[in-house]
Structures are given as C-alpha cells and as structure tokens.
Symmetry: C2
Subunit: 159 residues, 2 copies
C-alpha cells in the first residue's frame, strides 16, 4: 500500500465515513477447520450512473480491486489482511463516524491469528457479531449461536 500524506488520509477517511463500510463476516465453508470462513472487508461504493469511477481512490491507495455489481453499484474492495491492517492504521486517526469499526476489525484480525481452539474461535465469532449492531446490518444471520451448533455437531466443543 502507498504511504499517504495526512491530507490524503483525511480525504479517504471522509469518503469512507460517508459512503464506505468496514466489516468482518462469517461464511459457512466446510473446507475450513471450524467450518466457517472469517472474511474481512473495507468497501467503498459509488453509483455507476454517476460516471465517476472509484479507480482514482484505488490509485491513491495502491491496493484492493474494483467490482461492478449487477445493481449498478461499483465497489472498491480491500479484502486481504495485511492491506486492511495497514489501511486502517493510516486512516483511523481521521475517522469521525467509523472509529469503532476500525478498532474492532484490527482487534479481530489480531485475535484471528491467535485462535487455537474451538472455544477461542467462538470468542472470535462474538467479536464479529458486534458488527451487526455497529453497522445496522439486519441481514447478518451467521452469528456465534449458529457457529456454536455446528461446532457441537462436529464434536469440537465439550457439551
């Protein structure tokens, strides 16, 4: 990722506060040890009808990728762990509205690396659950309680 000036960091923070998202989600995937994948994202959105592309933001940062959704929204997505960490550390001092999400994603990425047991994985899931409230995401359904059932069924948790 490019090193940003204070002015660039502040601009990006304003853009993200207005129309971006910071979140971590759980996805069912039985190829993973605990049968759930933990995915972290920083996403910027723009309506494609506006003819402005988020590629200018991407160029400033030098990370992430662009995606066109079927509903006419362009997304600029930062999905890899090391880019997210570096990005959040640079931007965080300038955020006004998404400070809590920034702190939480860093905490989760840190704790994820240290997760060594099903119990610790559940503790991680509880942190991830906090995004539901922080981001008012009504659609989030894969929560700790759901993961717990899977882990019990797999015999990974002591009952």
């Amino acid at each position: 990722m490019n090193k940003l000036s204070k002015v660039q960091s502040a601009y990006i923070a304003g853009f993200l506060d207005a129309d971006g998202s910071i979140y971590v989600k759980l996805t069912k995937n039985s190829t993973y040890k605990y049968h759930y994948q933990v995915s972290s994202y920083i996403v910027f959105y723009q309506s494609l009808s506006s003819n402005k592309s988020l590629s200018e933001i991407q160029q400033i940062l030098g990370i992430g990728y662009l995606r066109k959704r079927n509903d006419g929204i362009e997304e600029f997505i930062i999905g890899d762990t090391s880019s997210i960490k570096e990005f959040v550390k640079q931007i965080k001092p300038f955020l006004i509205y998404k400070q809590k999400q920034a702190d939480l994603i860093l905490k989760i990425l840190d704790q994820k690396e240290k997760t060594k047991s099903a119990e610790q994985f559940l503790a991680l899931c509880e942190l991830i659950d906090q995004f539901k409230e922080l981001n008012y995401s009504k659609k989030r359904t894969v929560l700790t309680e759901v993961v717990k059932v899977t882990l019990k069924n797999l015999g990974l948790l002591t009952p």
Copy 2:
C-alpha cells in the same frame, strides 16, 4: 463559517465527493423579477437508520442546517450564498470528483450578482443547465428553454 485546517478540508472534501451534492436549480416563483428563483445548495446525506448524525459535520463547519426527510434520509444543507462561496473556496483544492461542480457554482453565484437583463438571466440559466449533466439529474425539468418561454410571454425578451 469556521476556518478549517487542511486536514479538516480534505476530510470534508472526501465526505462530499462520496455522498454529497453541489447544485443550483431554478424554481418557478412569480414574485421574482424573471419569475424564476435561482437557488444554490451544498447538501450532505446520511441514512437516519445509521444513527450517525451529520451534526458533527455541521459543527466542524459552523454553517448550514439539518433536515430530516420523510424517507429516512438526513440532510445537512448549506443554502446561503456567502456560506456556499466560502465553503467551496476552502474545500475545492481537495475535491477529486466534484471539481467541475465547485467551479460552476462559483461562476453562477458570481454571474447572478451581475445579471441586469432578461438576456443575461437566460445566459445564467444556461450555466445552471450544466448541472443536469454534471450531476446526472434526470428529474431536472426547469431548463433554459422553459424560462425562455416565460420571459417571452412576459414580454421581457425581444422576439
């Protein structure tokens, strides 16, 4: 309006680029000399469901007012000419996507003060029309051609 630091200006520019609007519109109003009112706006938007209020942005700037729309969107509006001018001058160097709108609104506010005839008012309307394309505003219907018909009917234009 408060004097902003570079970092504050850059943050606000990012916020406005992501989720704000700069525009001038014409509204039929027969109490005005040419029967159309010219109104200029800087508007920031946020979903009320997000529980974040734009009052923090308002406090940084020290101008404008907040409005809650019926559709759950909060607007922070800067509508008075002198605030808009000062705001745009401070923010403009940091804008990436709305540079043209910033230049255009300053040009219109300047030209508006100098308008002394119906012909000059139509020239002003032509500048205002440019926002239709810049902002992809499909709903804009009061354009120069409409004003021209009114001015002709009022006998203010030589046919």
